[in-house]
């Protein structure tokens, strides 16, 4: 379980970092959405840090920087990265489901669901159709 939650923490660190370059490319309404998404990822990160520390693990800090999968230079690439970030974070939380039970399973499911909903919102803003995927967090 600790390993799965540590992976989720690493993904949350990366997501928080990514919303920086994403936000600056967006207009006001979308920027607000990006800020809300970043705040949600910070909240998940903080919960994970407490949880992992409580289990005697040492929560890994954020890296000083993260390589973006592609340059974010305009609104379109910003929305594409935001979608990709949410899909990736969803996948990590989905992977935590079999490794957890009880309250931690419920928390992981909440996180997966939030990421999936945000990915759908970003796809809608980008005009991507369909805006949903059949199995959020599952590869392929």
């Amino acid at each position: 379980m600790t390993e799965a939650l540590a992976a989720a923490l690493a993904a949350e660190h990366a997501a928080i970092f990514a919303y920086g370059p994403i936000g600056v490319q967006l207009d006001d309404a979308a920027q607000k959405q990006a800020r809300a998404a970043e705040a949600a990822h910070r909240a998940r990160r903080d919960t994970l840090v407490v949880l992992l520390a409580g289990e005697g693990a040492t929560p890994a800090p954020a890296e000083p920087g993260y390589a973006l999968p592609f340059p974010v230079t305009d609104r379109a690439t910003a929305l594409r990265l935001a979608t990709a970030i949410e899909e990736r974070t969803a996948a990590v939380w989905r992977a935590a489901l079999p490794a957890t039970t009880g309250a931690e399973r419920a928390q992981s499911l909440d996180a997966l669901t939030d990421c999936a909903v945000r990915a759908t919102r970003w796809r809608r803003l980008a005009g991507t159709a369909p805006a949903t995927v059949p199995f959020p967090g599952r590869a392929g």
């Binding site: 489901l97 499911l109 999936a116 909903v117 159709a129 995927v133 059949p134 959020p136």
Partner: protein
């Protein structure tokens, strides 16, 4: 209780006592043949039929979720048929529910799921914007109930099923987003 390892009943041996001419294989055949004629009731104490064959196996705990996925698919398909202008939004959702049903049937081990007649919003005929709004509200209510059911199933599931059920719960939440 008849057993293949017991000697054949003496009634099967030749009357002149020439039982040695029968091979062991022959004895086994004879004994097996005798077993078939034993009434089934005589075997119930042997542990061969511990389960009453009339009692169906307990339904899989995911059976209601499978039925729910098929129902949701049918509702979206009926709504898309009634209002073609919504088809672009509703068709991918219906397809997702069908995909969920197929995966649930696979893990349950059930026979391939077939569409069932459901109480979908078939009453929604051609009408105005109010009808569309009402139809979408009905679909949202169904998705919300389905999402809650999937969340419960995921929380209660063994590890092997947790990821699939989590994806289904998350997908239903995204459907609500699109239906808004």
């Amino acid at each position: 209780m008849p057993s293949r390892n017991e000697p054949a009943p003496t009634t099967n041996s030749a009357p002149d006592g020439d039982v040695r001419r029968l091979s062991r294989r022959g004895l086994l055949r004879i004994t097996a043949g005798a077993t078939v004629t034993v009434p089934a009731a005589a075997l119930t104490g042997c542990g061969l039929f511990d389960r009453d064959p009339d009692t169906p196996p307990a339904p899989d705990p995911l059976a209601p979720l499978l039925a729910g996925a098929l129902d949701l698919a049918a509702r979206h398909e009926a709504a898309a048929a009634a209002r073609p202008e919504l088809a672009d939004r509703l068709a991918p959702i219906a397809q997702a529910h069908r995909a969920h049903a197929a995966e649930l049937a696979r893990v349950i081990g059930a026979a391939a799921a077939t569409p069932t007649a459901t109480a979908g919003p078939t009453s929604a005929g051609p009408g105005g914007a109010d009808d569309v709004r009402g139809m979408l509200a009905d679909l949202r209510a169904a998705e919300r109930a389905g999402q809650a059911a999937a969340v419960q199933a995921c929380r209660a599931a063994p590890a092997a099923r947790a990821a699939l059920l989590g994806s289904i719960a998350a997908a239903r939440a995204t459907h609500l987003e699109v239906l808004t």
